[in-house]
Symmetry: D2
Subunit: 292 residues, 4 copies
Amino acid sequence: MTGTSEADLPDNWGRWGADDELGTLNLITDEVRARAAAEVRTGDWVSLAQPITPSAMFFSPFLPDTVESSPVQQMVSHTGGPVAADMSLIYNHHFKSTHLDALAHWSTDEQVYPGRPRAEVVTPLGITHASTAAFAAGIVTRGVLLDLAVEGPLPPARAVTPDDFEQAEKRQGVEVASGDALVVRLGWTGRGPADTPSPGISMDAVRWMHERGVAVIAPDRGDAHPPLNPDEPSPLHGVALGRMAMPLIDVPQLDDLAALCARLGRYSFLLTVAPPRIHGLTGVPVNPIALF
Amino acid sequence: MTGTSEADLPDNWGRWGADDELGTLNLITDEVRARAAAEVRTGDWVSLAQPITPSAMFFSPFLPDTVESSPVQQMVSHTGGPVAADMSLIYNHHFKSTHLDALAHWSTDEQVYPGRPRAEVVTPLGITHASTAAFAAGIVTRGVLLDLAVEGPLPPARAVTPDDFEQAEKRQGVEVASGDALVVRLGWTGRGPADTPSPGISMDAVRWMHERGVAVIAPDRGDAHPPLNPDEPSPLHGVALGRMAMPLIDVPQLDDLAALCARLGRYSFLLTVAPPRIHGLTGVPVNPIALF
Amino acid sequence: MTGTSEADLPDNWGRWGADDELGTLNLITDEVRARAAAEVRTGDWVSLAQPITPSAMFFSPFLPDTVESSPVQQMVSHTGGPVAADMSLIYNHHFKSTHLDALAHWSTDEQVYPGRPRAEVVTPLGITHASTAAFAAGIVTRGVLLDLAVEGPLPPARAVTPDDFEQAEKRQGVEVASGDALVVRLGWTGRGPADTPSPGISMDAVRWMHERGVAVIAPDRGDAHPPLNPDEPSPLHGVALGRMAMPLIDVPQLDDLAALCARLGRYSFLLTVAPPRIHGLTGVPVNPIALF
Amino acid sequence: MTGTSEADLPDNWGRWGADDELGTLNLITDEVRARAAAEVRTGDWVSLAQPITPSAMFFSPFLPDTVESSPVQQMVSHTGGPVAADMSLIYNHHFKSTHLDALAHWSTDEQVYPGRPRAEVVTPLGITHASTAAFAAGIVTRGVLLDLAVEGPLPPARAVTPDDFEQAEKRQGVEVASGDALVVRLGWTGRGPADTPSPGISMDAVRWMHERGVAVIAPDRGDAHPPLNPDEPSPLHGVALGRMAMPLIDVPQLDDLAALCARLGRYSFLLTVAPPRIHGLTGVPVNPIALF
C-alpha cells in the first residue's frame, strides 16, 4: 500500500462557497429531515454519550492524595443558604468524553475549511470561523447504525472498509443515504486510552462516506493507533473532518444503542446532536440522542 | 396576600421512595413517550438555548483591558501542528446561559429531596445524590408551549397565574397533561440581569403544575424579582424544584420556538433535553431541542 | 480542662483603630526593623517554603489515568515559536503548600477584624477588608526559630506550651521580643494530611505570644487534630489569626532552617515574607526567606 | 545598523555544564553574598512588584456585565462557618504583573538552555528542565539600581546603551559587579500595554551585562516595541534570557525603589527574589524586596 497524492483525497473545499461553516451539514435537506421524522414511532430513546464522573478541582483539604483524571473538574460552592452551585473546568478532546469536533479543530496546509488562513481563524480570543457556532442550534437528521462488532470488538490494526459497511447494510436491512449521520460500532467503547493499539477507519471507508453523502460521522473508534497506513495517518480527523468538512462525534458510547437496535430490530432512527450553544470553540461535549 | 404554612406547599418527598433521584421525571411513562413520538411529523426543529459567546481566559497579552463577562471562558491551544483545541471554564446559574438545574441545587430545611441531609449530599468532591447524574442519559417527553407574550412581554411584577395557563391552552388548542414538559413564554428572553424588576411564576401557578403532573418546567423568566410575595420568595426554585422535585430548565430562549409554533400552528412537540452526560453537578448547560 | 469564656481570650480588636488591616504587623517598628537588619552578616539564606510539584490541568490526552492532587495545576501553552508560557490554577489552604493567611480568612461571630460585618467583607467579587492587600508590599522583621523537635517530632496530641517556648529560648540563647516573627518547629513538616492525628499549639501558648507581642507566627503544625481541647478547637486560626489579628504563615517547611540554624549556631535572622502582590484574597502562597 | 550573525551573540551555553539549570545565578558566589549582606543596615525595605487587583471568576450572577481583565481571577468560597477561602487562576506573562521568567520560557533553534531539545523540555505535563524549579528556593544577591529616568521617562524608540549605564554608575556612585542583580529604571512602570511604542534595552547593553557578569536583570521596560533593530527583535528575551541564561524579572514596579534610593542616597541593596516555590513552570509571579 502506498501513500496517496493530496489531489486524490476527497475534498469539499469550495463546494458550498468561500464563507461556508456548515460543511456536510448542508446535505441535511428538507427531504432528509422528513425521512428522519418518519423514524420516530414509539418514543424509545437512548444516549450515545459516555458518562463522565468529574474530578474535583484540587480545592478541598480533604481531597485524596491521588485522584483519577477526568475531562471535567468541578467545584461546588455552598454558601450556607438553600442554594448549592458549581463551576466546572471542561477539557476537550479526551478519550474519555463524547464531544463534537468543529471543522476548525483541524487545519490543512495552515488553512481552515474552506481555505481561511489558520492564523486568522485560531486566535487567543477564540475561533473566528467554522467553530462550534456552526452547530450551536443543534443537528437533527436520520441516524444509521452499522454494527461491525456483533461478534465482538474488532481486533487492533483491523481496517474498517467499504465492504464492512455494505455487508452490515445488507445484514441489518438499512442503507446509508445522503444527509444521514453514520454511526459505526467497532466494539471499542471505553476500550482504553489514546495510545492503545486499535482498529480504525480506513481511507477507503472515508471515500465511501464521501460518495454516499454522509453528513455526520460517529465511530466508537476513529483513526487507528498506530495508523493503518503511515502515509495516511489520520483518515478521519485529517481527511473527513479537515477536507470533507464532515463534523465528527468523537468517542461516542455505542453499546446501549446497539442493544436497543437489536431489541427493536431497527437500525435507523432520528438523531439529535445538541451541545451547549457555545460559540467560538473547537469542540464541545455533547449527548447525542437516538429516537425511535 | 399572606404567607403559606409549609404544610400547605405542594410536595413530592416520599412519593417515589426514599432513594429516588428522578422526581417528576417518574411521570414520563411509556404512554407519555408514545404521545411525544406522535408529535414528530416533518422534522422541523428549533433550539431553546441562548447562544453563548465565551470570554477568553485572561491569558493573552493582547486581551483588551475590558471584557464582557460570560458563563464560559475559553482558552485555545494551538501547538503548531494541524490541531487546535481548547479548554473551557463553564460557570453555572447565570442569567445568561440556558441550563438544567438538578434537584440538589436547592435544599429545604437543610435537606435535599427526598430528605437526605444536605451535608451528606453537597460535598467538596461533588454532589452525591439527586445531581445531574439523574439527567445524564437525557430527557425525552412531549413539550407544550404556553405563549403568554403574544401581545408583548409581561410587565414587571406581573404574576403568572393558572388562569393565564388555561386561557393559553384554549387559545392554542392544546392541553398540558401528566408527564409533559411545560414551556412558558413571558416574553423575557434576554431581558437583562438577575436584578432587573420582572414578572414571575406565582405559587398558584406552581400548584397548578403539581395538579397537572408537569414533569419538567422551562419558563423564560421564573421567580420574579423582587418576589411577588415576600413570604414566598421563590415558588419555582424553592417549591417546584426543591419540594416537588421538578427539574428546571433555567433561562431558556423561547422566541424562536414561539415563532415556529405560530408558523406551524402547533404548540406541542417532542422535546429532547440532553446535557453533556456529566455526573455529580448541581446543574449543567443544555441545548433543548423541540421537534415537530 | 474546661472551656474559656470568650471575654478571656486574647484580642486586639480596636487596639489599632476601627479601620486597621495590619493587626500585629503594627508591632514592627523602626526599632524592630533595625534589630532585624543587624542579623544580616554573611548572606546565608534559606527558604521556609514547601516545594510544590504542580499537577497538570486535565488537558492532555496523554495524561495518566491517575494523578497526584496538588495545590497548583498548570497548563503549558506553546505555539510553535520560541515562547512557552503557562497558566496556573492555585488553590489555597492546603496542607501541602506554604501560604500566608490574611486576617479575613477567619471570622468571629460573623465579623471580620476589627469588627466589620462578614457579609460586607467576604463578597463574590473578592475580600474588601483585611485581605492579602495588607501584606502585598511584603513583611520584613526579625525572625526567631524555637526548635522544639531537636529530639524528634512531637508526638500526636502533645500540646505546645509556654514552658516549651521558654526552655527553647534558654537552650538556644535567644529571646522572642515584640515585633518578631515566631517560627516554631514541632518536627511536622510534610507529616501527612489535615486529618492525621497531630500535636498542636495550645491556647496558653497563644496567650504567651500575645504577651510577648509576636507579629507573625509560622509553626510547621498549627492547630492540633483532633483539637487539644474540644471547647477551644482552634487556638491558632480562631484566636491568634481571628482575634489577635496575627498573620499566619501556614504549613511552612522548617527542616532546612533548623539545619542552618544549628550549623551557624544562631536562631535569629532577618525574615522576608513577600507573596505575589495580589489584593483581595484570603491567603496567598509565599516563600519566606530567612537571611543570616 | 545591520543584523548580527548568531555567532557574535553573547552566550553561556555550556559554560556551567550540559545539565545546568541556574544559568547566570552561578555567578552569585559566597563573596557576592557577603557583599549583599553588607548592604543591610537600617532595615528599610521596598517592594519591586506591581499591585494586582484580581478579577472575579465569572461565577456570580451579580458580576457586572463588563469587567477589567487581570493577571489573576479569584473565586471566594464561604461555606457558612468562620472560614472564607479562595482559589485563583493566575496567568503569566502579562504586562500587568511582575513575574520571574524561567530559562525555559525562551528557546533558540528549538533548543532550551543549555542545548536540550525543546520537545523534551516543554511538555503538556510541565517543564522538565530549566523551569521555575531552579529558582524555587529563592534568589538572594546584591541589587543595584541604575535610574535612567531621573529627568522623566525615556521616550519611545530610545535605546538604552552601555553609556547610559556607565553615566548612571558615575552619577550614583555605584558599580555593577559580577553576581549583581541589575535593576534598570526607564521610567516606564505602568505605562500601558505590550503594544504601546516604547524605549528598550539595546543589544549592546545586553553585551555590557554579559561582560559585567550580571546575574539577574529587572528593567521596568525590557524589549522595545517596536524592536529597536528589526534584525535583533528581542535582545532581552531572546538573547539575555535564552542565550546568556540570565533570569528576567519582567514588569517590575520601580518608582517606589527609586524614591527610596534617592531619599537614602544609596543605590545598592540586598535583593530577595522569592516566588512561590512551584516547580515546572515557565514563569511565576514574584514580589522582589530590596533591603537597605
